[in-house]
Symmetry: C2
Subunit: 291 residues, 2 copies
């Protein structure tokens, strides 16, 4: 699905994919910032634990967000498509000031929520200005084109990533999570090679990209967000490589964003944290080679 | 060490780092090409199995290269520094038409060969035109700055890679091997961030970079060579990041080279295989975003 239209004068809420495994005990800076964006003590946060098969997931997040000062936290016990028609859930989403999708399995999430009122509400509420965060599977589902699965530890190759339609909060990125920890560069590169329009975001564990209404994301957390931009690609072997054959992809751009770095998804440019000096690109590559 | 000077009118031999785990049974295309470059039936190949602790390593490679038609194959049983003064070994290297360094531990290789006549001979013979190949540890050792160790599966961070002086056949690259399979992007990025002059080569298993005298490399094998070029980097946090803290590295260039691709290490440009069409870079990144 495409993102819901944003009304004149309104601005979309933050979209916050988290790479999984985020700190839930110590600083909890990612969750803390999400709670603040949701309104803090005035927040009404709705957790969607559908990706998880663990019964306690919803309760656990209720505890975390409450501890961080959120005024009101509920979770939607959605385990099958029929649950998505529950009018009570619909009303909770209408009144939500923040929505959080837990980890688990993103295909479970897309297969249960996809095409239901709940999915539509998430998109619309985000377009109306409320933040939507998701961790692990909950991060993958956010984009229009979702990484559904695929091998880690392998070079890019056709068929090494499986895509599925996501919930569609954004269509400018494709998201992968547990990125460094599960060695998913190959599958993100494969996804990027399918259509270079998509910016690949590889999000590490305990790391989040806070994507603002201006389509500039900022990194929060202890790991990195790896941005793959294939828009300037000079060569791809994707259309004549055999399935499983390692791909050639020339002329990619790569930004490794640590905490505080920003990336403008429209201009496709990375920025250092605000208190850092930009060192400036060097004149030509050739000059460096004579060092 | 720096590469040995190339005499007027001469040209350096191929430098052939291999990512480890190369096919030694079926097509053996990497070894086959090395044997051809060494002179085929007229070849006199010298194997240096020092990185390996296995007694049979030298014999095994003798068998492989002989099966591929190499006229003459010997190995130097060097297990300690004193062996490097063996005049017989010195003579074998003087007469070699190809040198091959096996896998094992690159610090064992550098600690035993470093600063000896054997290391000097390898550099000089390469400068005189003979090909030098090395797999796994034997690949790492080839550059002036060698990746000695470091963690896989982690984002780039100061201290996450350890460097040591290599044998110095080339000083334009730093080489990592078993690259995708052992998830070594983080440590290669760390190494590149130390000094962007170095081009990072991440070589997959069963894959080799044949670096010609013109400093253009060509990829042979079933995996990819990932080229990280930090020369146009716009920001690095390396000098103020805490040890272990994930680095920010903005404005990197990335080329993923499959079989037949080439990369010009002087111009820092990747090329597709000769029979492929270059698709051409698209005008601006912004245009793509409106798709």
């Amino acid at each position: 699905m495409c993102p819901a239209p944003v009304a004149d004068g309104a601005s979309r809420g933050f979209i916050i994919p988290i790479g999984g495994g985020e700190d839930r005990i110590k600083e909890m800076q990612i969750h803390r910032r999400f709670v603040e964006l949701s309104g803090g003590s005035n927040a009404s946060i709705v957790v969607i634990p559908t990706a998880s098969l663990l019964h306690e997931t919803g309760q656990n997040y209720r505890r975390i967000f409450s501890r961080l000062g959120a005024g009101n936290v509920n979770f939607l016990q959605i385990t099958r498509r029929a649950d998505c028609n529950n009018p009570e859930f619909s009303e909770m989403l209408d009144n939500a000031t923040g929505i959080f999708m837990t980890g688990g399995n993103q295909l479970r999430l897309s297969a249960i929520l996809g095409g239901t009122l709940v999915a539509q509400k998430i998109r619309r509420r985000n377009a109306e200005g409320i933040p939507v965060a998701g961790t692990s599977a909950g991060a993958s589902i956010m984009s229009e084109h979702m990484v559904a699965g695929g091998a880690g530890n392998e070079p890019p190759a056709e068929g090494k990533v499986s895509l599925a339609p996501g919930i569609g909060l954004t269509n400018s990125v494709i998201i992968d999570q547990h990125f460094t920890q599960r060695n998913r560069l190959g599958r993100l590169l494969t996804a990027s090679s399918y259509n270079p329009f998509l910016i690949g975001l590889g999000i590490d564990e305990d790391t989040a990209a806070f994507i603002g209404a201006d389509n500039v994301l900022e990194v929060v957390g202890s790991g990195t967000v790896t941005v793959v931009d294939a828009s300037q690609m000079t060569h791809s072997s994707i259309w004549d490589a055999k399935p499983g054959q390692a791909l050639s992809l020339l002329g990619l751009r790569l930004d490794v964003l640590g905490e505080g770095c920003r990336y403008d998804l429209k201009a496709r440019i990375g920025y250092p944290p605000k208190d850092h000096t930009v060192i400036g690109a060097l004149p030509t590559a050739n000059d460096k080679n004579s060092e």
